[in-house]
């Protein structure tokens, strides 16, 4: 483990911690998803960059994981955000719903299973 690798790993872990704090502290599911996808992806990618800078062979797999993550996480976030909006989650801190009427939206969140 070189010095740069240690710095990158520490930075990535701190970004993951910030993302987890955001998941706990933010108010509605869409804001939480914002925290989880952006900061979480950045944290994981920084940790993989740390593997690239360390003396471990396997840099190709590391680049592949990073590329795959950067390619697929926006799709997953978009699908999950659309599903959360359609299922009628609470949206806090917005005065009006800019896309009201575009999708038919449930009025209340679906019932919980105990």
């Amino acid at each position: 483990m070189t010095f740069i690798a240690a710095i990158l790993l520490l930075l990535g872990a701190c970004f993951l911690l910030v993302a987890a704090i955001g998941i706990v502290r933010l108010r509605d599911p869409l804001q939480r998803m914002h925290s989880a996808t952006k900061a979480g992806t950045l944290g994981s990618s920084l940790m993989l960059c740390g593997v690239l800078c360390s003396k471990v062979d396997g840099s190709m797999t590391s680049v592949l994981v990073m590329l795959f993550m950067l390619l697929t996480l926006p799709f997953g976030a978009q699908l999950l955000g659309r599903a959360a909006y359609v299922s009628g989650t609470a949206i806090e801190g917005l005065d009006d719903d800019a896309i009201a009427g575009e999708l038919d939206r449930a009025h209340a969140a679906p019932e919980e299973t105990p």
Partner: protein, 91 residues
């Protein structure tokens, strides 16, 4: 060499705190969307743990584990999103 192991322990501690927070949201989360988001976050932290294990042990096989976790994450997120939309259609 002891310094590097200390750094690894610190990183594992930070990631464990993040894991605990995400797990708290998964248990607590008021709606299903919160739980799926927490699952997303848990897989991101699992990739972090896999990279940490790669650097600590020097075996690149843990990167393949990270690749598998990323693949499963994408498929699971898409499947759960479809499940959430379909559940709304049944109500």
């Amino acid at each position: 060499m002891t310094d590097l192991h200390v750094i690894g322990d610190i990183l594992a501690g930070i990631l464990s705190i993040a894991l605990g927070l995400a797990a708290w949201r998964m248990v607590r989360g008021p709606s299903f969307a919160d739980r799926f988001i927490a699952l997303d976050m848990l897989t991101a932290i699992a990739v972090g743990f896999a990279t940490l294990a790669t650097v600590e042990t020097g075996r690149s096989a843990f990167l393949d584990v990270a690749l598998g976790i990323t693949l499963i994450n994408f498929v699971a997120t898409a499947a759960f999103a479809v499940f959430l939309e379909r559940k709304r259609g049944q109500d």
